[in-house]
């Protein structure tokens, strides 16, 4: 690495000072990683002057050199969740555009100006998680160390989100979860440096059980297939818990490897089990495949199928197969309120009339939520931004009143329950009808209950 030795020593000193304030191994990691990272970032020694007025020590990638703050967007561009990743990236790019130049929700958020964030222009880098935890870890670490991102975000696959949460906490750089639905993300794997807007499998169970049991009846036997990683496992557990509490009985549950393309053999076993209902706990392309295989094999004629977590790209891929299938979604453009309509409109204008998916809304919302929190804090210093996000009440992202709970960084929010439309009615980008928007009062759990009981958030980094 060739760079200006003077500026290195200045920044190195700051980094070491920050690291000294933290405790134990985390501090040591931060120190050595920080030393790695500043090779690229500090071309000019004077650029950091703007931060001189802050009273905060260096921490993670704070302070920012120059007058541009960089966000990292780490999405699956390959693997079974790549369609979701593509749509997330569209929304991230839109968010950055609006933060810098106004437009969309930025005009409505009272904390945001549309002239950058804290007088910094926002830039971004992209990464590919490949729907794989170790690839995501590597990509996130590169963003933090080489690109000096001040915040990174991304999602689809909870294993990936959890891996990135590890990077966030270790490096003391904030991670804003996009789509991740495992109970563990804000349960046993929760961290201080990450926030989740998306609900989880536990809450899906709470929202789906009353609707589905009312539709299909009491005392039924069900069979579950689930994706064999963090999300699928907690998804299976939550479905079992809530549907058995409602009087149903799980006959069996079988794990399928992530990135399975042919589910027929797994399905034949489900078909011969004698169960009344089949839960397909698969997501992304895996979900589209398992549902299509199930319908192609005629299983929907013998059993009721439930797809607990759904989204628009999946419905697009499975097309006619989603007819009559119940599930929950993160958000949908059909939800009729001011922020939802506005987001759908600006997204469509930017991308040739395309309707945004739930993951896109999450990506857009999480980027803006971070920026607004930084504005409220008056600094990018991560512990202060975190404190602004904790227990923050908001009603501006299209899902009604919400709270970003401090005890586990899990948004307390409403959940849309949907039913797939037949292919003949899938017009104008609508794939499902919204059956119910389950109020946040009917889902959720206390800080000492459910997944939250296992959550230990860890340190802010300024203790």
């Amino acid at each position: 690495m060739s760079h200006d030795g003077k500026s290195v020593s200045r920044r190195g000193l700051l980094k070491n000072a920050g690291a000294a304030g933290t405790v134990g191994l985390v501090g040591l990691a931060g120190c050595s990683e920080g030393g790695d990272g500043d090779g690229d970032g500090d071309g000019d020694g004077g650029g950091g002057g703007g931060d001189g007025g802050d009273d905060y020590p260096a921490l993670g990638n704070y302070p920012i050199d120059g007058d541009t703050a960089t966000f990292g967007f780490n999405v699956p561009k390959s693997g079974p969740y790549s369609s979701e990743g593509e749509d997330e990236l569209r929304a991230y790019e839109l968010a950055v555009e609006h933060l810098n130049n106004g437009g969309g929700w930025v005009d409505e958020f009272e904390d945001l100006s549309g002239e950058g964030v804290l007088d910094y222009e926002i830039d971004f880098v992209e990464g590919d998680t490949a729907t794989d935890a170790s690839a995501a870890d590597e990509s996130a670490s590169r963003m933090v160390q080489r690109d000096d991102v001040i915040m990174f975000s991304g999602g689809s696959s909870s294993a990936v989100a959890i891996a990135q949460q590890g990077v966030a906490q270790r490096e003391k750089v904030l991670f804003m979860c996009c789509l991740t639905h495992s109970n563990d993300t804000t349960g046993k794997d929760c961290v201080r440096y990450s926030f989740r807007e998306m609900f989880n499998a536990y809450m899906t169970g709470q929202a789906l059980t009353p609707v589905v049991t009312e539709e299909y009846g009491d005392d039924l036997d069900f069979y579950q297939l689930y994706a064999d990683y963090s999300w699928g496992q907690t998804q299976q557990a939550s479905m079992k818990q809530f549907f058995e509490e409602a009087g149903w009985n799980e006959v069996d549950s079988v794990a399928t490897p992530l990135d399975t393309s042919d589910f027929s053999s797994y399905l034949s076993e489900a078909q011969s089990s004698g169960a009344d209902v089949l839960f397909l706990n698969h997501y992304g392309l895996d979900g589209a495949n398992s549902l299509t295989d199930a319908v192609d094999a005629g299983i929907d004629e013998d059993m009721e199928i439930v797809m607990p977590l759904y989204n628009r790209p999946m419905a697009e891929a499975a097309s006619g197969a989603i007819d009559g299938i119940y599930g929950t979604i993160a958000w949908d453009s059909q939800i009729d309120n001011e922020p939802s309509n506005q987001f759908a409109e600006v997204f469509g204008e930017e991308y040739d009339g395309r309707s945004p998916s739930g993951p896109a809304q999450l990506a857009y919302a999480q980027t803006l939520q971070y920026a607004a929190a930084a504005e409220r804090a008056g600094t990018f210093y991560p512990p202060e931004v975190i404190r602004e996000l904790e227990d923050y009440d908001y009603d501006n992202i299209g899902m009604g009143e919400e709270t970003m709970r401090a005890c586990d960084h899990q948004a307390q929010r409403a959940i849309p329950v949907v039913r797939g439309l037949p292919e003949s009615e899938q017009e104008g980008g609508n794939f499902f009808e919204i059956v119910d928007i389950t109020s946040r009062d009917d889902v959720g759990y206390g800080c000492d209950e459910g997944p939250a009981a296992e959550c230990e958030l860890g340190e802010y980094g300024d203790e």
């Binding site: 561009k77 390959s78 079974p80 079988v254 027929s264 011969s272 192609d296």
Partner: protein, 329 residues
């Protein structure tokens, strides 16, 4: 579901899974048996077949690929799946001829390790080219539910006397594979061309001394093997996804099929592919079996099962089930 019904579903799924392996293994096995050429790029031919078929069948939108930046946000002819089924094999046949002429032939007399390195490298080049040009995302085929005359083509169809429904496309895959395998077998066994190829396998020097140009039959055999891999790409793709990595994923079971069946043997490839398909599908379908207090879940053992099968065969019949010792020696 009745026992008969379960067996029908098991048989259809197993044979169909095996059929794809058979289509790939025949090409691999013939090329390895006749030309003594280890072709790790065979999976790339499968990918090429799948992508060409995709572009013939429908129009795809390219999001992350270089082609989008070059002004092709959508690509494809949209002629439908039947057209792809007809057009892809000859195209991949020609690709195979080119591969033989420019990649394989210069390496015929080189050691196996050189052949492996160059073909594996070629497979990576193909994979990464598609990755860069079209992008890493997965695509799925649109496949018609009926063809002309109202014959069911895909989707659920009831099986007589068993009260079960199966995806009829799987039956088509088995039928198409069986037809092609019989055709190739007939060519090799009952034509002069096949005689030359078989003679060349035994003693290429003697065949040359008899005044027969042996390079041309080899070229054609390579092309046929490639064409079959292309067919596998097209018929297999509606049951799975198409992305640049599928060639590498399918290569290993295809080689296992050759190992189990025996190098150079078409009948061996059929037997090996069917065995692997059936073992894999049976283990997945068995699920949890309770024997008294002992409860075993077989599903996660499906992958282990096919390798265990290969191990048993290699230990007891190193030349493969239907392979002859001379060929592997």
């Amino acid at each position: 579901m009745s026992l008969v019904g379960e067996l029908v579903v098991l048989l259809v799924n197993g044979l169909q899974t095996g059929a794809i392996y058979v289509l790939l293994a025949i090409g691999l096995s013939i090329i390895l048996g006749t030309l003594k050429f280890v072709n790790f790029a065979h999976g790339a031919l499968y990918v090429v077949g799948a992508y060409i078929g995709l572009l013939i069948t429908q129009q795809i939108s390219i999001a992350n690929g270089q082609l989008a930046e070059w002004g092709f946000p959508t690509l494809g002819l949209g002629w439908g799946f039947i057209a792809a089924l007809v057009i892809v094999p000859p195209i991949v046949f020609v690709v195979g001829l080119a591969m033989e002429r420019f990649v394989a032939r210069p390496f015929y007399d080189r050691p196996d390790t050189d052949q492996i390195l160059v073909t594996f490298g070629l497979a990576i080049v193909v994979q990464e080219l598609i990755h860069a040009l079209i992008g890493p995302r997965s695509y799925t085929y649109d496949i018609p539910s009926e063809i002309a005359g109202g014959i069911p083509f895909s989707g659920p169809v009831g099986v007589p006397l068993s009260a079960v429904t199966i995806d009829v496309w799987r039956v088509w895959v088995i039928a198409i594979t069986a037809t092609l395998v019989i055709a190739v077998y007939a060519i090799v066994e009952y034509t002069d061309f096949g005689l030359v190829v078989k003679a060349g396998t035994r003693d290429p020097e003697m065949v040359r001394l008899l005044g027969i140009r042996i390079t041309r039959p080899y070229l054609v055999m390579f092309g046929i093997g490639a064409g079959l891999a292309g067919v596998a790409g097209v018929v297999g793709a509606p049951l799975s996804n198409i992305n640049p990595e599928i060639g590498m994923t399918i290569l290993v079971p295809a080689f296992l099929t050759v190992v189990i069946g025996g190098v150079g043997s078409i009948r061996g490839a059929v037997l090996g592919g069917t065995l692997i398909g059936m073992v894999q599908v049976t283990l997945i379908s068995l699920g949890t079996v309770s024997l008294g207090s002992l409860s075993i879940n077989f599903t996660p053992w499906a992958q282990v099962g096919i390798y265990a099968l290969a191990v048993v065969v290699l230990l007891t019949r190193p030349q493969g089930l239907l392979g002859s010792e001379e060929v592997t020696a």
